[in-house]
Amino acid sequence: MDIERLRRIDRRWIFLLMAAGVWIPLLFRPVITVKPSPIVAAIFEKIESLPEGSKVLLSFDYGPSTVPENQPMAEAIARHVLHRRLKLYMDAAWATGQAQAEQCIESVIRTDFEDRVYGEDWVHLGYKAGNQGMINAILGGIRNLYTTDVAGKSVDEIPMMRDVQGLRDMSLIVDIGSGLPGVKEWIQFAGDPGNIPVAGGVTAVEALLLYPYYPRQLLGLMGGLQGAAEYEAALVEKYPEYLTDSKALTIMGPQYVAHLLIVVLIVLGNVAFFAQKRRDDRTRKGRAG
């Protein structure tokens, strides 16, 4: 093996390898079995335990850049909440979250839950600016900011908003996020001061940063595509009719292949590095001798 060539390989070959490593498994769609971890199962069990008619706030705090990770989480939660006949309140603390909520409505509510009535079973409140200020404002009074829903209808005309004063009326807050504001801000500005259970679904990058909050301040957490797949697996195990709606589960195959590719690249890189280092040391010793 030519160590020097291995060390100086053009990075564009690595890019090509990465693209192939993801695209080829996407074509074949290998089926991978996924088991929910305790931290993800906690969210599932909480929603299962809520009595019919309980209020669940689902906050869309992400954008199109993290849709592959976050959208399956949001849709799985929305599906589960509506299946259990809980009341689904949707909002967004990110400007791009509003569009993702619309996508969730199209993919989940308008396809699987057409019989659910807007304003009685689900409501879309839309986006409000202000990051943690927004959360702080609606903790005490949701009408501090939300005087209308996303379509401009007064919240006082919406039946399921009549007995909602503030966030403390929610049985559960589930935030699907990918940055600031996100799960951390919902814990800090709603969960802790309002004593409201908060669960989260975040990108893998953010997931590890939230582990210190679990389980005292964070009921459960879906981390990255793996977390989304675990929640879908839990949902499908209990309600098999949702198998065909599982987006994350179907792309875990390419995810794992890419992981293994990265491991191989790290090992190869280190092999090349240490082989070169040994050669340089031998050359240096030869010259000194």
Binding site: R12, G133, T147, Q188, Y213, P254
Partner: protein, 226 residues
């Protein structure tokens, strides 16, 4: 697939390929897409902030009848004159664009900074300090229901607390890291290295997921052609 959907798919795919062309090398197609992205993003956030917050919560509260012409439900809510204050501060913020009076934007910045400082002071004190310390007070000896020592959780709790204290020792730069303190700090570095290794693994997972999403949509586009 409707004409609009097809057009949307084609525009999305072409812009995607323009951006991916950067992987080969920087080129005018990538620069075009990059600059378009900047302009479109800025406008998107402006529009959402205007319609979702300024109209209902600022202008709609100051003059409901005026705004009611566009959003009828807002026309029915009572006026709230105090919202003239944040409107004034908001306009002061915009004066940052006018150099002779840019210093007046400091008043708006002062309100924003004061709010952030006040809110964060209490929230971080409670959620990120006191409750975190409370959560770290775990037993070093965990017993099973039968009363025997459960080795696994006991060792794990020791790792948690010792790891936390040693990592905190590493961050304490007011004392020289020598002797016992230095060794604790060294252990803290190892704890942090494990955390960063886990973070690297998860970061890879995150980035690969994004790539999978894009390639899926490119696949849909190619599928629509054939």
């Amino acid at each position: 697939m409707s004409g609009t959907d097809r057009l949307e798919l084609w525009i999305a795919a072409l812009l995607t390929l323009m951006i991916y062309s950067f992987l080969y090398k920087d080129n005018p197609f990538y620069k075009f897409a990059e600059h378009l992205f900047v302009g479109v993003s800025a406008a998107y956030y402006m529009v959402l902030a205007f319609w979702n917050t300024l109209i209902p919560n600022c202008f709609g509260q100051i003059s409901p009848t005026l705004v009611g012409g566009v959003v009828p439900s807002i026309g029915m809510q009572p006026a709230n004159p105090i919202r003239w204050v944040p409107l004034a501060f908001g306009l002061l913020l915009l004066l940052r664009l006018v150099p002779p009076v840019a210093h007046l934007s400091r008043w708006a910045m002062a309100l924003v900074i004061g709010y952030a400082a006040g809110a964060n002071f209490t929230r971080y004190l409670q959620s990120d300090f006191m409750v975190q310390v409370q959560s770290s007070m775990v037993p070093f000896v965990v017993r099973t229901e039968a009363g025997a020592i459960d080795v696994g959780p006991s060792v794990s709790n020791v790792v948690l607390v010792v790891g936390l204290l040693s990592a905190l020792a590493y961050f304490f730069f007011s004392k020289e890291h020598t002797g016992l303190f230095g060794r604790a700090s060294r252990l803290g570095i190892w704890t942090l290295m494990v955390a960063f290794g886990a973070a690297f693994g998860y970061t890879v997972m995150a980035r690969v997921s994004l790539l999978i999403g894009r390639l899926q949509q490119l696949g849909d586009w190619i599928g629509s052609i054939f």
